[in-house]
């Protein structure tokens, strides 16, 4: 963990970058308690302050998540183009609630506010990749493609 942290000067202004890097390095996409403690130590901050900062921002998770994170946009432009029924279809298909992870640990389903790709609404991201002009079929196809690439 230290080698991730030492890429930045030991100054609080770099904490968001440090948290991003530590989370990205973790296969289950979350901040381990040890990671938070390491940041606190490196920046000479109270652990409570590090946790308070991390929990403010929606991109960080303190709980283990799936290997892949599905973020379905629910902002007005996507909502207008049918995101609500897509969310129902998504949670049905993966048999998981929003915010939870599938039993096999493959996918966490999250909703997100605007992804800035409204020209192709409704849209979702799987990890860093954007999928637009979604229909139920295209959404499932994208999920299965990720599943296949995992095997």
């Amino acid at each position: 963990m230290k080698r991730w942290l030492e890429r930045y000067p030991a100054s609080r202004e770099h904490i968001l970058d440090m948290l991003h890097d530590l989370q990205d390095a973790e296969p289950r996409n979350y901040l381990r308690p040890e990671a938070l403690r390491a940041v606190a130590e490196y920046l000479s901050m109270p652990l409570s302050d590090v946790v308070s900062t991390a929990t403010f921002y929606s991109m960080y998770s303190l709980e283990p998540r799936g290997r892949h994170i599905i973020r379905l946009c629910e902002s007005p432009p996507c909502q207008l183009m049918g995101a609500e029924s897509l969310l129902d279809a998504l949670t049905d298909y993966l048999r998981v609630e929003v915010g939870r992870t599938t039993e096999d640990g493959a996918f966490t389903v999250e909703t997100t506010s605007c992804l800035g790709v409204c020209g192709v609404a409704p849209a979702m991201m799987i990890d860093a990749e954007v999928h637009g002009n979604l229909t139920k079929e295209r959404m499932i196809e994208a999920i299965e493609a990720v599943r296949r690439s995992d095997d």
Binding site: S11, R12, E13, H14, I15, L16, D17, L19, H20, S52, T53, F56, Y57, S58, M59, Y60, E74, S75, P76, P77, Q79, L80, M81, E84, T112, S113, C114, L115, G116, V117, C118, G119, V120, A121, M125, A128
Partner: protein
Amino acid sequence: MTSGARSPRIVLQNNGVIDPYSLDQAIAVGAYEAMAKIVGEKISPAAVIDIVKASKLRGRGGAGFPTGLKWSFTAAGDPVYIVCNADEGEPGTFKDRLILEGDPHRLIEGIMIAGYAVGARRGYVYIRGEYALSIERMQHAIEAARAAGLLGEDIFDSDFSFDIEIKRGAGAYVCGEETALIESIEGKRGYPRLKPPYPGTVGLWSKPTVVNNVETLANVPPILLNGADWFRSFGTEACPGTKVYTILGHVEKPGLAEAEMGTTLQTIIDEHGGGVKDAKRFKGALIGGAAGAFVCSDCLDKPMDFDGLQEISAVLGSGAILVLSEDASIVDMLDGILTFFQHESCGQCAPGRAGTPALGRILKRIRSGEGRAGDLEQMLRVARTINATALCPLDQSVLLPVESALKHFRGEFEALISG
């Protein structure tokens, strides 16, 4: 174009024309010429501010504050910071992303000129964490500019030294508010500060700081190069120049449009959006994102600029236009907007923390057919109270969608209540 309406490209001039990874191509289309002119002709910082003031450029982040005036209000200090707000999170808005990804050197030059004008040696670009490609391209461009000596010490052999650093957000809409953004750069929770003092006097690390939106800064190099009169030949008297709109929802061709300030909604929909989808009837539009207002067909022929929309109790905001055909339910749309506010309200002030969920609960009740007499008045009372008492513009702006939806489409809500 099917009519005589002009749609000049100022901000998006090079988008799609150049390779955003190539500094040479950017230079071939004029990048850094404005900065070279300032240095070559020894135009003083005060004179740069005067040119921007004379251009009447107004902030494109939503509030429309005169940019030159903001610069002139910035206190002298050591150091002074310039911050580019690229925390674009307003639902339906992605204009800044396309500038970051399509013409990053334009933005770097805009930040440099702003820095020169206010006496900053250091600039920050705060980009929302979800914009991975924007971060990558901007980082690449900054490094290329640095390697070419366009950023760093003694730029163009002058005594002006300047550098830029990227800051990544981590998912918090409220950080688009300038003081929350400053807190976030400092590595804290993105809680907005009480104003005054404004960032121009007490900003980043308590130093004088200018915060400008991406699109605003992208307008600066061409203004310096071509002059204030040239800029004022576009748009309206009070709001010169162009606006980059995102036109979305029930239109044939959703996407991006740069049009002169003062262009009517009808023209934007017809000429840039390809008309209402499936030739349906136009019902209304949500302008300015979730923190924006609903308008009805009465608004179609109104010139859109910061002032023109204010006259009809709407706002231009970030320039997001969500077109709603006869098929759209305003009740459902407002429900989505209130969900957004509940999620993004930062929790610092009580009106935002408790007020936005209260609004959401009433509307959920109405939407499920269990609305009560007096519910609409109650929603307005709650929204007005939030507007009057919330700490920052995020929660204050919830009044806009609530009030405008109930003003123009009240019947839809009443039909559900009287069921």
